[in-house]
């Protein structure tokens, strides 16, 4: 058994006084830990676009300015990282994915988010609609920083935070589910923190 390291607490962890808001197996944090899984992309805003694609075609694409013209929402959400961090009441400035999908005709049942750097993650369409998902470009009132996924990331707080893809550049609409990056390497296909769906087979 590992000896306890006297006086070691790791990152500042607050008491889970809000039990009921913290899923099983999670620690609360006041920090916002940055996880590096690749180099931080730096796409200039004048080259940045967000696209919705189907059948290898781009159905709709928005420039940065066009995204910023869309109705902005202030989103407050609890977020839960599969690496056991939960952070409550995070504040984002974002455009609803519903707003974006409303501009595309489709019958898709799944989406695959694709990002700068090659990262992908998959979600059922039902989980990115109905006010459950956003394209977030602001955090705590400031532009989203590159190390946190800026200029814009997906925000899907009801699932483990790896589904809230950083540096997102679009959604591929699919009829059949297709596992994304971490899903292919062994993480759970769906990722519900309340059922502790961390790894494939959980």
């Amino acid at each position: 058994m590992s000896p306890i390291s006297r006086g070691f607490h790791g990152r500042r962890r607050e008491s889970a006084g809000d039990a009921g808001r913290v899923p099983p197996g999670q620690y609360l944090t006041g920090d916002f830990p940055v996880l590096s899984a690749g180099p931080t992309p730096h796409t200039p805003l004048d080259k940045w676009t967000f696209s919705i694609r189907q059948d290898s075609d781009t159905s709709k694409s928005w420039s940065w300015a066009e995204i910023r013209d869309l109705p902005e929402e202030d989103v407050t959400a609890d977020i839960h990282c599969v690496t056991r961090w939960s952070k409550l009441d995070t504040r984002w400035q974002a455009v609803s994915i519903d707003t974006l999908l409303a501009q595309v005709e489709h019958e898709a049942r799944f989406v695959l988010a694709f990002c700068d750097g090659g990262y992908t993650t998959n979600l059922p369409l039902a989980d990115v609609t109905g006010g459950q998902a956003w394209l977030a470009y602001g955090y705590d009132g400031s532009p989203l920083r590159p190390e946190h996924g800026g200029p814009a990331r997906l925000l899907v707080p009801h699932l483990y935070f790896w589904k809230s893809a950083k540096w997102v550049r679009g959604l591929e609409l699919l009829d059949a589910d297709e596992p994304g990056f971490w899903e292919r390497y062994g993480y759970h296909n769906y990722g519900d923190p309340w059922r502790e769906q961390r790894y494939a087979g959980d």
Binding site: S36, P39, T40, P41, T83, G118, Y185, G186
Partner: protein, 93 residues
């Protein structure tokens, strides 16, 4: 969409030395001097000289020449899950 840009390697990019312990745990022997062959571009390199990205989600090892993924290690509890499809060969020193 920007592809991976090597000139923007920042300080969060490590090398195979950083995962020497994890690799030894996985393979049962010292591996920083093991020579890997990239399945994408054919380049060979000691694992110490690969690009390594550490996150609590997993370790991602990329080819320094072409940046394709060589190896991904995810830890599930006590078990290391290793995906080596990105390597055509891996020879311990």
């Amino acid at each position: 969409m920007t592809a991976f840009d090597e000139t923007q390697l920042d300080d969060s990019t490590l090398d195979g030395n950083a995962i020497g312990g994890q690799l030894q745990e996985v393979f049962g022997t010292e591996m920083t001097t093991a020579v890997g062959t990239c399945a994408t571009c054919g380049a060979t390199a000691q694992l110490a000289e690969t690009l390594v990205y550490l996150s609590a989600m997993g370790t991602v090892v990329r080819c320094r020449t072409c940046t394709a993924i060589l190896l991904v290690v995810i830890k599930r509890g006590e078990v290391n899950c290793v995906d080596m499809q990105g390597m055509a060969a891996l020879e311990p020193a």
